[in-house]
Amino acid sequence: MAAAGAVGVSAVSACGAVPPKPDPAAPQRRGGVLSHGATGGGLKDSLDPHFPVTNPDIARVNNLYEPLLFWDDDYKVAPALATSVRPNKDATQWTIELRDDVVFHHGKSLTAQDVMFTLGRLIDPDAGASAGSQLSVILDLDNSKILDDHTIRLQLTMPYAVLDELLAEYNAGIIPTDFDPRKPVGTGAFKANTFTPGQLSSFLRFEDYWGDPAWVDELIIYDFADDSAKVNALLAGQIQTVDNLPTYLVDSIGAQGSSALVADTGAWIPFTMRVDHGAFADARVREALRLVVDRQQMIDQALNGYGFVGNDLYAPFDPAFAGDLPQRTQDLDKVRSLLKQAGKSDLQVELVTSAGVGSGAVESANLFVDQARQAGIDVRLNKADPNTFYGEQYLQWPFAQDFWYTRNYIPQAAACALPTSPYNETHLNDPEYAATYAKAIGEVEESKRNDLLHRCQEIEYERGGYIVWGFKQQVDGYSNLVQGMTPSKYLPCGGYKFRKVSFVEGA
């Protein structure tokens, strides 16, 4: 706390001379209290490793707990608590080898038992952890074996070639067998200190961390209900990092001693067309609506320029991503001729949008109405309130929107593109697609698997129901008095890896 005061004072006395952007190559310094401003949060705040709900929860979970593998800043799987996670030939068994130098915050060493205990908690159907929804389908824990203290062989109920991706999710953190939610311990670089839901939580550096320990002595995560309070606190030097900086402030905070951290993400807000409903059942109509969209205009106006263009495909960071398919651009002549062929020259449709879909949704829906009008299509906009939108009609709307975060292809398709998917908004039910997908998830050899996934993407590109016009960029902010913040494609604020952040010399 004394250190927090000292930091506050030095930030105050720095008035007048605005600190320049830190030099990323400068040596980092130990000590200080890092204060992070998290957007949202409230009484639902939790320290549970497997049920993070709010932004502050996600920030906390990433510093307290660690999964077996990490998604790195480039959205590639990297070793963490496990040194290797490898499948057998048909991807029905996976062998996990653990590091032998990992200690939990309460002093116990990490063993195979802890991993089995964690997996059991994740796939417990009564609890319903979100990281477990896919795991619970494929994992056969009863027939999985602990080979020795640091080796496990997992048995699957079906071939699954990308189990490592599921084990790298931040909400699958490993906890000890004697885990007590009231005194939460993990293996992260920070250990829990205080916790006041809706207000703040504080963490101390864990000295026995297996990797590079944190630079700062203490980490405090504050909840901020209001964007301007959050940014004011950053500019006044009371906090050093914030997530979800409003994009219109990017330029102005630069003049006041803070910087924006902009990262590409795989988050998308598609238009969803039901391939089994009315006019949308005709693939020509769907293609016409995809050609209506001026994608760059959507990025510029709906996302304030913080995004990159999409091509009606998701999972842009997956090695299997079909980047070779021709980029769709607005082509109003082709739209008219496609609609004429389909006998729908005077097409009238209703588009359902809602503020509940998130930032950029209503804005892009408005733009779509304008852009479609240029092609003579009459789109009626229905702005539903969030409870109605995600109420009983959700997943039944013929033409609507939805939001998704960064995922690779196989888990994303499992969530949205198969008849069995929980959120199949487009009602895609394509036998060729399903068969190719099933083959791909059991294919261990990556190049073969990627070929199969490429075919899946061709099918979606030709006859799917999504209009994926772009992907969002994540914009966060940090004070120039700290260094070590690097953009991450996986999560905001450099993946919330606050152990890498330090105060600059002299701050």
């Binding site: 009484l43 705040d45 009564d126 504050y222 209001d226 309070a229 004011n232 606190a233 009371q238």
Partner: protein
């Protein structure tokens, strides 16, 4: 306007001359008991309204769980049990009222902790914020109103009126944003922009971080009070007895202090009371702007979470503040009005 109505209320509620022979103490006790009874009745009615309103919002389980209501049966049953949804409305109400009266207002649905534990600190924090603002508002209002009345018609008075009107016309969040820009972020870096404390201690352990929220409340409320006080003072200064005092040669200072101010104090009390009662619910925006850990932010969060036990208790607290502040203002008004005072105790 509001102030005069309130004064009339106070006058109406004061009983006509008590029967002769009753002692002043007994008359006062009777009057006070009646007022307390009325206050309790009001709060009981409020409790019925709050309970019915929150019960009429539809199925709370669906509101809380949203999309997951169908899939997570266990959690749904848990909430049903916690909120006693299988009992009749009548039973639920008595159960809730009983808990409220015995200091056990239930458990938060959002995180399973007792409501009392979750809000006690926050209610105290809000109370301190309002109290700190009131301590400044009262003397400042009286002082500026006196000065303005004294300078009536002159340039000083006009200047004060223009400034007050401008400030009264600004919503409090604009005032707050401007104050933060001037004192914390853009012009000077002299004061904390938000009320956050590292250890989660009470905000007043870091007095500097309370300056801007308190100042915002003062600027939001004081102009209104000053304007009412000034017009009351002017009315009194124009009255015959003040004219008489002046003709008798009483110095203007004494006229203002002894004759005008004393008579203007009652409307002043009423308008301040109304403003403070309004602040109990109205500081939500100020708390948001400064990330102040008060009950306003809790209320918004609880409404968003459909956390019905929390909403009910917070609504009751705000209602209770209204009733109590008005009661206190009425008692003070009567004490400061000789005619009323004697009417009760004679």
């Amino acid at each position: 306007m509001a102030a005069t109505e309130a004064t009339l209320d106070a006058q109406k509620s004061a009983p006509p001359a008590a029967p002769a022979g009753r002692s002043p103490v007994a008359a006062w006790s009777l009057w006070l008991a009646r007022r307390l009874g009325l206050a309790a009745l009001t709060l009981w009615l409020v409790s019925v309204l709050v309970f019915l309103a929150t019960a009429a919002l539809g199925d709370p389980v669906r509101a809380i769980l949203g999309k997951e209501a169908e899939t997570s049966q266990g959690r749904a049953n848990q909430i049903r049990e916690q909120l006693h949804l299988d009992d009749s409305l009548w039973d639920r109400y008595w159960h809730w009222l009983g808990g409220l009266l015995t200091g056990d207002p239930g458990t938060s649905v959002a995180n399973g902790l007792p409501v009392s534990e979750l809000i006690s600190d926050r209610v105290l924090n809000s109370a301190v914020l309002v109290a700190a603002a009131a301590v400044i508002i009262i003397p400042v209002s009286f002082g500026v109103a006196l000065l303005s009345a004294r300078l009536r018609g002159r340039k000083g008075d006009t200047a004060i009126q223009v400034v007050l009107l401008t400030l009264a016309g600004l919503p409090e969040f604009i005032v707050g944003i401007v104050l933060v820009a001037v004192f914390s972020t853009v012009v000077f870096h002299a004061l904390p922009a938000v009320t956050i404390s590292a250890g989660g201690e009470a905000p007043w352990t870091q007095p500097a971080s309370m300056i801007l929220p308190v100042l915002t409340l003062v600027i939001a409320v004081a102009p209104y009070v000053i304007r009412i006080m000034r017009s009351t003072l002017l009315e009194v200064l124009d009255s015959d007895y003040v004219e008489l005092a002046r003709l008798k040669g009483v110095p203007e200072k004494v006229v203002l202090r002894r004759h005008a101010l004393r008579n203007a104090i009652v409307p002043g009390i009423q308008v301040i009371a109304l403003q403070l009662a309004w602040l109990a619910g109205g500081i939500v925006i100020v708390e948001y702007l400064f990330s102040y850990p008060g009950m306003g932010a809790s209320l918004v969060d609880s409404v968003r979470n459909s956390d019905i036990p929390m909403v009910q208790v917070l609504a009751m607290i705000i209602a209770a503040v209204y009733v109590i502040v008005n009661l206190v203002a009425d008692v003070l008004s009567i004490l400061f009005t000789p005619r009323e005072r004697t009417a009760i105790s004679s």
